[in-house]
Assembly symmetry: C2
Homo-oligomer: 394 residues x 2
């Protein structure tokens, strides 16, 4: 008999489980994942980078290294951060095992049980999972197409003890919405006024297909309350397991101690491989290629949805990222819909709300599948919704 698990452990399968499990099924068209297109990974360039770096490095490349991670790569990320308006040095940066680890580390660093946490409604399920272990008191702030509702946020902060705000400013997962510059400023002002930590989770920033880049939230940071997370997962490869965290030295130092008991450090082989890739390739050329390919897929999905969804549905028109958010007419339940689709899977939205669990939304991913699959999937999805509406009318 296995001893009982901790009371903190949710023994129900999580939405992340469901997400990963769905993405592994080959028999269907999956709009459910959040995967990049494998055809776009720069395989040859990455292989060359690993080969050359290992060949030319001393055997120390295989040794334990610093907790923060390979310094020249942190310098490159600091240089990149400047282009987003964020001023920082390598000492402000920890290289993490994906951006997910950054969320987890910050949750563990700042949260005591039942602390107040503001999340967008809806939000990224991996954020919720990381916070859930601390049994937080959630406050949802509704998403709008220019970012979270600042009036609701201001009221929430005024009336409650909030420790942490979690936001995805660019092409939010799951809505695809992008926070306006004005709201970024307001958010930093509110975070300063109420002394709240802000996690600016920004893995999709470079995948903008329409319009111009906006400055990071951290670029308006007044009191070092903002911590920004980034990642190579969506712009190079998830298997590099390399994200970064940019924050005040005091925060980064404390996270270094914490991380030693988690997994010690990232793989120096991977970090040096990425560094070598960046030394010998123009990543912006690669990103331009991604933008072109993903914009085409997004447009295919937007057309497919326009053509096939009944008029009772609405959906987001993102300027970038991986996802489109579909709103069903209220009586429809996305979970029930998922059981009725013939060929298409999607992420039903209720688990993406911390508390309100709204049942009438779907998150659709367009990056990990082909345009043909997108077209066929949209037809199937449209038919399923139409049939469900007909059934309701009967």
């Amino acid at each position: 008999m296995i001893p009982t698990f901790s009371s903190r452990i949710n023994q129900e399968p999580t939405s992340l489980d469901a997400l990963f499990a769905l993405s592994d099924r080959a028999d269907l068209i999956s709009f459910a994942g959040g995967y990049p297109d494998p055809a776009l990974f720069p395989k040859k360039e990455l292989n060359n980078a690993f080969e050359n770096r290992i060949k030319n490095a001393s055997t120390e490349i295989f040794q334990y290294r610093s907790v923060l991670g390979y310094e020249p790569l942190r310098q490159k990320i600091a240089d990149y951060a400047k282009t987003t308006g964020t001023t920082c040095s390598p000492e402000n940066i920890m290289l993490t095992q994906g951006a997910q680890q950054g969320i987890k580390l910050l949750a563990d660093l700042f949260l005591d049980d039942f602390d107040g946490v503001v999340v967008e409604a809806p939000t990224y399920v991996g954020g919720l999972e990381a916070f859930n272990e601390h049994k937080p008191t959630y406050y949802e702030v509704p998403m709008e197409d220019d970012g979270m509702n600042m009036d609701v946020l201001a009221e929430t902060l005024e009336e409650n003890d909030v420790k942490l705000i979690y936001t995805i400013p660019n092409f939010q997962n799951p809505t695809g919405y992008c926070m306006s510059v004005e709201k970024r400023k307001q958010l930093t002002e509110l975070a300063t006024k109420y002394n709240v930590i802000v996690i600016e989770d920004d893995p999709y920033r470079e995948l903008r297909y329409v319009g111009s880049s906006l400055p990071s939230i951290k670029s308006f940071d007044l009191t070092e309350n903002i911590v920004t997370l980034g990642s190579f997962s969506k712009i190079l490869s998830p298997a590099l397991r390399c994200g970064w965290l940019i924050g005040a030295k005091e925060i980064v130092n404390q996270l270094s101690s914490l991380r030693l008991s988690y997994d010690c450090q990232s793989s120096n082989i991977l970090l040096e491989g990425i560094d070598e890739y960046l030394e010998h390739n123009d990543i912006s050329t690669h990103i331009t290629k991604l933008r072109t390919a993903y914009q085409q897929k997004m447009n295919a999905m937007l057309s497919g949805l326009s053509e096939n969804l009944p008029v009772e549905c609405s959906f987001s028109k993102p300027q970038g990222g991986f996802f489109i958010w579909v709103n069903l007419p209220k009586p429809l339940d996305a979970r029930e819909l998922l059981n009725k689709t013939k060929r298409v899977a999607f992420l039903e939205g209720s688990s993406l709300f911390a508390t309100s669990r709204e049942a009438n939304h779907l998150r659709l991913n367009f990056t990990g599948i082909t345009e043909k699959q997108i077209e066929e999937g949209c037809i199937d999805l449209g038919n399923t919704i139409k049939n469900a509406l007909l059934a309701l009318a009967i």
Copy 2:
């Protein structure tokens, strides 16, 4: 102003910090680290493995993969585990970001605040750091040269609520002691009787220089209470960041959910690279090379200590592993000694005791340095101790 950290966070620098910081200093002979000898990393073979696997794999090698990790590698580990007496299948195995992540995941899975945790006295500081976040009620069981004292363990389990036992059976960090077969059996019987989870942390098993391998604790497992951790860090390279966890399916499944919010998964690139290495190289030949080299270093240190330490000191004579444990005469304080050494650094032992914090011990590592450094370091250490004893006598 940065908001306050969680009350769970220890804001003092940890022993692991000190350990890693010391190991980075080039101006001294460091017996303090726990690093393998970089000259022994199979650089060419690993480079070939990465190059060939990436070249021959589809671009899916760069994609997200399963949380448990690359299945063929888990199969190889299952086959290896059989040689230690452990029967398991790939479904019982999760590939972790080093064995450290295994400790952390298990601590988080099983421990509620203030739960009882049995640790060896002394023990691995990374284990303590992982448990500390749950404010455990520690019970220390003294180490003997054939493993922890089973009478004390039995009494502890009879008299207290204990949730988890943490043990390093082979060439324990920090003492170098190895648990006898008889005690391994007793431990599983006690774990069954009192329904306690046992973490069998076993990263040094293959680095045996004297005598024959002993069966794993898990080989005597009666009720799936034992979870075994292993690692490629000490036998291939720490920068591969690849350990494994072998346990009941129920435990492994629950850890899969937990891990998604930690760092999603290990790097598939690294896992496939290791798999390729194992396909085309005989790792046992490599391990034989390591054993020969490390035995020579261990013998150099044992000789150096015999020749240079005053008779008031005693030290362990390990059959394998990375460490020798030195006991100073009681009035001496290892922390004070560390400030007095001229050229040699070591890990002072007090932080390696969960509660008793005994001050008169040192942990010495012999793998990460040269024989010449070992000889010179032992002379310096001997002189420092002799001078400290003289000062006491005055």
